[in-house]
């Protein structure tokens, strides 16, 4: 006797456990794309990792400077904050002694722009990962 073919309801299946919003945002900050990876969007994670990391590396290669936190210089403070939005990448670059800034190089300002924009783009990536974790976007 053949059993009737009944579709398996998705409602009866337990949803895969996903990290919380805070953990997702923290992971997205630490390393670009990891927030999306833990939310099940490996393709987007690959895109973010494969673009933001080279962008930061190009910024260092072009002679960009890793700015310190200095309260007396508002623009330097903002630039530093943007660069720190790359999390572990910024930390490793600092530990490796990179980013002293070649002020006389023709590409110095380009390097700074690459470093700052990479961090600011990662903020957008963190917001997107946060939306995924909150369920505001389909994952």
């Amino acid at each position: 006797m053949a059993l009737p073919k009944t579709p398996i309801s998705n409602a009866s299946m337990p949803a895969p456990a996903r990290p919380s919003v805070a953990v997702t945002c923290a992971l997205a900050w630490v390393f670009p794309g990891v927030g999306h990876l833990v939310q099940g969007q490996a393709g987007k994670a690959l895109v973010f990792g494969a673009t933001l990391l080279p962008m930061y590396a190009f910024g260092l290669w072009f002679g960009g400077q890793l700015f310190p936190f200095e309260g007396g210089e508002p623009l330097v403070l903002l630039a530093s904050g943007a660069q720190w939005m790359m999390g572990a990448v910024r930390l490793l670059a600092g530990w490796a002694g990179l980013g002293h800034g070649d002020v006389v190089a023709a590409s110095y300002e380009y390097g700074n722009t690459f470093l700052i924009v990479a961090g600011l783009l990662n903020v957008l990536v963190m917001f997107d990962a946060s939306d995924l974790a909150r369920g505001r976007k389909a994952s």
């Binding site: 987007k44 895109v47 673009t51 933001l52 080279p54 072009f62 023709a106 590409s107 783009l121």
Partner: protein, 57 residues
Amino acid sequence: MTSHLGFMLVFAALVSPVFAALHREDLASGARFAGRLFGALVGGALVLSWVLYLAFG
């Protein structure tokens, strides 16, 4: 590298996929979006630079 055009091309090539991945869900429309954005960034910069050159050059 010291070419301003080269810096601009690298910058546009790296920024475009990020915005495409943020704004589009599927690969095909994302690739189209990234291509259009890349063209808009490079083309817009070239047009603006010519306008500034003709106005103030």
